[in-house]
């Protein structure tokens, strides 16, 4: 865990900005390390009043594992959608309600983005009371199986990473 301090209100954002700065310059010269560090402190300080409260990140390693899993699923999704586009059989499209256990906005956003990037599903809109996401699926054989898979594969790890 990176502790929050008065001059580092969003430590993870600062870390991200610093790494992005070094990547953008593709350099690890001392000058860039220092300049990136200054920007990583100043930008969050200036902008954090505009941001929603960020949830605590409890298991960073688990998040890394989650990202790798999603990256792999994106590759699979590409082949799957490519196959669906090229095969001439009719699609079984469906709107599906995915009930949500998550309550915070950031984890819901991550879940919705994951759904959009992975096999055959795009999230369209979240319910006003955040109880479900309406998902459009390109080709559904079994609705219940789809819901169960999304909940087990993506929502459960997110709940562990961002406990309420």
């Amino acid at each position: 865990m990176i502790p929050k301090t008065p001059w580092l209100p969003t430590p993870w954002l600062s870390l991200l900005l610093w790494v992005l700065w070094l990547l953008l310059n593709s350099s690890i010269a001392w000058g860039h390390i220092l300049l990136g560090g200054i920007l990583a402190v100043v930008i969050p300080l200036l902008t954090h009043p505009f941001w929603d409260r960020q949830p605590d990140l409890h298991k960073p390693l688990k998040l890394a594992g989650y990202i790798l899993k999603v990256l792999w699923d994106i590759v699979v999704a590409n082949f799957h959608v490519a196959y669906l586009i090229l095969s001439r059989r009719p699609l079984r499209q469906a709107f599906v309600k995915i009930p949500l256990c998550l309550t915070q906005e950031y984890p819901i956003t991550i879940l919705a983005s994951t759904i959009s990037l992975t096999p055959g599903t795009v999230s369209t809109e979240v319910a006003p009371d955040k109880t479900y996401i309406l998902v459009h699926a390109l080709d559904v054989a079994d609705e219940a199986a789809l819901i169960a898979e999304i909940k087990a594969r993506y929502e459960a790890p997110l709940q562990e990473i961002f406990p309420c």
């Binding site: 992005l20 959608v81 079984r92 499209q93 990037l117 795009v122 459009h136």
Partner: protein, 138 residues
């Protein structure tokens, strides 16, 4: 920076492979845009088929320039990160607009009444928040 570098054959082949892979997926994504039947299904093509399309080209670019410059080229990783963040958000915005404008979906779609239901839920929510607006402090 000079770009005319002679790559060894195996690397050239690898770069060509990833370029072709990327091109094929970008092409399939475009076919999907043209061929899928309604707005919602057309959204699937640009959010997915094209991520691997651009991904393949980025890997090819990374291999080529890492060799040509003699150091690991990392700008492509940034392109990939920004793409993966922005693609689902774009798809979400588009589908949200489609939903609230009641864009028609094809006849045999299961759960066809769900978008309208959700739209009405949002409508009620907006009326509610208009009538009981919280008083501003001060």
């Amino acid at each position: 920076m000079h770009f005319e570098v002679h790559l060894p054959f195996w690397l050239e082949a690898l770069v060509a492979f990833f370029l072709l892979l990327g091109a094929v997926f970008a092409f399939i994504g475009s076919i999907g845009l043209a061929r899928l039947p309604d707005f919602y299904s057309r959204l699937h093509a640009p959010t997915k088929a094209t991520t691997l399309g651009v991904g393949g080209m980025l890997i090819a670019s990374m291999l080529h320039f890492s060799y040509a410059q003699g150091s690991l080229s990392v700008h492509e990783i940034l392109v990939a990160i920004f793409l993966l963040i922005s693609a689902p958000i774009t798809a979400y915005m588009l589908s949200k607009v489609a939903l609230h404008h009641q864009s028609p979906s094809v006849q045999n779609t299961q759960g066809q009444d769900l978008p309208q239901q959700l739209q009405q839920e949002w409508h009620r929510e907006r009326i509610k928040s208009k009538t009981d607006k919280p008083k501003l402090p001060g």
